[in-house]
Amino acid sequence: MIPRYQVIRRILSRIPKEDVLITTTGMISREVFDIYDRPNNFYMLGSMGLLSSFGLGLAITFPDKRIWILEGDGSALMSLGTLPLIASESPKNIVHFVLDNEAYESTGGQPSISSKVSLEQIAISSGYPNVTKVTTLESLEIAISEIHDSVGPILCLAKCGIEPVEGISRVTISPEDIRDRFRLALNNT
């Protein structure tokens, strides 16, 4: 198992500067904000489960931008119906990461059902043309390298461990500022 913080670190170190990143509520947004804040990050501070729908809308509205969706297993499970919806619309510019630590870590590490359910198989059955599962940092690096030459929607399931990192602050930018700078970034080519 890879510590989730390390997964986020690797993704952020490799994401192209112009690519758009949207992140789910809770620790994932806080960790992304802590590691690499940038205007084309959208931190979804509430609305658990909504992230992938918003990502689908952005991918359709901005077909020339690559949209990276970063959510957890709890969030993916909450809006499971969005997986076949994304696959059926099939925007080529979606990179969908599910950081699967089999737990609701942001609320204290309560177990989720993803230890018993294969989100990878669900993504395949949903019709994602490109599904990978990574369990080591090395396979994560390979998966990220392949994203650049792959046609989406891509789903990468990263199995992570629960290793809370102390001292991660909340996102300190106001919701309206997150919105405004994101909107500006999307419209700057």
Binding site: G46, L50, S53, G57, L58, T61, P175
Partner: protein, 164 residues
């Protein structure tokens, strides 16, 4: 009113991105909208999903539309409060008003939400307009002005037999 006229009113105001869950209130007009080459429609699996999709239009300088029936308000409250209203992202909800007028109209599952629809919108401070046979343009323009000023979602309530 005529379905073509109904959708043209939205298209004339650059509202072209729609997502939603079908409702029989819109009848054949729903099918026309899906087939309209000037409308991009994404068939959502839930109303909150539709809201997430349609909200992307705001980032491109437009207003997106969510088409739904009022029972879907129950699925959308958290998304309205912790996304649309928190970030102040305007979006237009076009809501079929099932259960309007209470029993014996419509089916039992619509009676309670039918009678509470405007109460819930008012509680959430979401501006709304009720579509009549005439005057859709004025109602919509007023609503759009309001939601763009307040930067919040707004709702158009459509009763049965208004759109054919």
């Amino acid at each position: 009113m005529n379905a073509e006229f109904f959708w043209n009113v939205f298209k004339d105001r650059s509202i072209n991105l729609f997502s939603g869950v079908p409702d029989s209130t819109f009848g054949e007009a729903y099918n026309q909208m899906i087939l309209d080459p000037d409308i991009r429609y994404i068939p959502a699996v839930r109303e909150d999903v539709a809201l997430g999709i349609a909200s992307s239009a705001f980032f491109d300088g437009y207003i997106g539309g969510v088409i739904m029936q009022n029972s879907g308000i129950g699925n959308i409250v958290n998304t309205l409060s912790s996304f649309s209203m928190m970030y102040h992202i305007p979006v237009l909800l076009i809501i079929g008003w099932r259960g309007y007028g209470g029993p014996p109209n419509d089916a039992p599952e619509h009676w309670i939400m039918g009678s509470k629809t405007t109460d819930i919108l008012e509680l959430l401070e979401i501006p709304y307009a009720i579509v009549e046979q005439n005057g859709l343009e004025n109602s919509l323009d007023g609503l759009l002005k309001n939601i763009q000023h307040r930067m919040c979602p707004g709702a158009l309530l459509v009763r049965p037999d208004i759109v054919q």
